[in-house]
C-alpha cells in the first residue's frame, strides 16, 4: 500500500467503511508512514472539532402546530385510490393524463431506439476486437508451425518470442556516480 492509495481511503477508514482486509493494510501503513499518520490525525481531529461545536437546534413548537393544522384538512395518506375518482369527475385531468401517457410512450420509444443503437455499437465494438484477436491467433499458430512444425507442442512456449519482461537490468531513473560497469 502506498501513500496515494492510503490517502484516498483515509476518511473511509476513519468512518469504518473499509473492509477489514484493506483496513489492516492501512493500519500498518499508518504505523510506518509519518506523513499519512499526521494526515489521519488531522482528519480525525477536525471532524471531532466540528462535531463538538456544531450544536443542534430544537424544532420550535410552531412547526408541529402548523403541520397539524394542515394535515387535519387532508385526506388519509393510504387513500391513493381517490385519484381515479378525481380523474373520472374531471375531464381536463383525464385529458392531461392521456397527453402525459403519450409523451411517456414517445420518450419510451425513443429510449428503446437509442438502446437498440447502443447495443449495435456494442456488438461492432466486440466484433472488432474478436476479429483482431482471431487474426493474431492465426498469425501466432503460423509462426509456431514454421518454427516447430506442430502448434500443439507445449515446449514451444519455452522458446517463445517474448523474453522475460522483468529481466531488465537498468532502471531508467538511476544515475549513480559510484556504479561500476562490469564488462
Amino acid at each position: 500500500m502506498d501513500c496515494r492509495q492510503c490517502g484516498d481511503d483515509l476518511t473511509a477508514y476513519l468512518d469504518g467503511e473499509i473492509p477489514d482486509s484493506v483496513a489492516e493494510q492501512i493500519r500498518r501503513h499508518l504505523e510506518e508512514c509519518r506523513s499519512c499518520h499526521a494526515e489521519y490525525q488531522e482528519l480525525r481531529d477536525s471532524a471531532s472539532f466540528v462535531e463538538l461545536h456544531a450544536g443542534e437546534i430544537e424544532p420550535a413548537p410552531e412547526i408541529w402546530n402548523n403541520l397539524r393544522a394542515r394535515i387535519a384538512e387532508m385526506p388519509v395518506p393510504a387513500e391513493s385510490f381517490g385519484y381515479f375518482h378525481f380523474l373520472v369527475m374531471n375531464r381536463w385531468a383525464a385529458a392531461a393524463v392521456t397527453l402525459a401517457a403519450m409523451v411517456v410512450l414517445a420518450v419510451g420509444l425513443l429510449g428503446y431506439m437509442q438502446h437498440q443503437q447502443s447495443e449495435r455499437e456494442l456488438e461492432s465494438y466486440m466484433n472488432e476486437y474478436i476479429e483482431m484477436r482471431t487474426i493474431m491467433e492465426r498469425l501466432h499458430s503460423l509462426q509456431m508451425m514454421e518454427a516447430h512444425g506442430d502448434p500443439s507442442i507445449i515446449e514451444a512456449i519455452g522458446s517463445s518470442q517474448m523474453e522475460n519482461p522483468f529481466a531488465s537490468i537498468r532502471p531508467v531513473s538511476f544515475d549513480n556516480p559510484f556504479r561500476t560497469e562490469e564488462k
Binding site: 456494442l122 466486440m126 515446449e155 512456449i157 522475460n164 549513480n176
Partner: protein, 156 residues
Amino acid sequence: MRFGSLRLRRRILSRAFFAFMLPLTLLYLPAQDLDLKKTKSVAESQHEIVIILLGKKEFVRAQEEANKIFQMKWPQSQEPVLLKELLWFSDKFLDSGQPELAVRLLETNLSTFKDNGSKAAIWKEKGYLLKRMGQDDKALDCFREAQRLEKIKLRP
C-alpha cells in the same frame, strides 16, 4: 611471470573495489528504485516458474504461481508491463487448451490495475475468451464493461 602477477593483482583489486563499493552504492540508491529492483527480480524468477509449470502441464499450479506476480507491490508506472504480462499468460493458457484458467487468471488479477485503459483491455480479452467458450451473453457483458471504462477514460 611479472606480467601474469600484475594481471592477477589488478583482478583482485577490481574485485575488492567492487565488493567494497557495491554496498556503498546501494546506500545511494533511492529507496523506491531498490524496492522495484527486488520486486522485478522476484517477478523474473516467478515468470520462469510459470513457464516451466506450463511445460509440465501443471496448469492449475501455473495459474496460482502467475497470480503471485500480480499480487506483489508494484508502483503504478509498471502497469503497462504487467498488463502485457497478464495478457501474454492468458494467451498461453488459451494455447494450452485451458481457456477457463485463462479467464480465472484475468478475473483474479484485474484489481491490480488502476488505469481504466488497462482494465478495459483485460475485460476485452476476458470477453474474447468467453466467446470462444461459447458463453456469448457473458462475453457481451465483458465488452460492455470495457466500453464503459474506455468512455470514462476519454472524458476530460
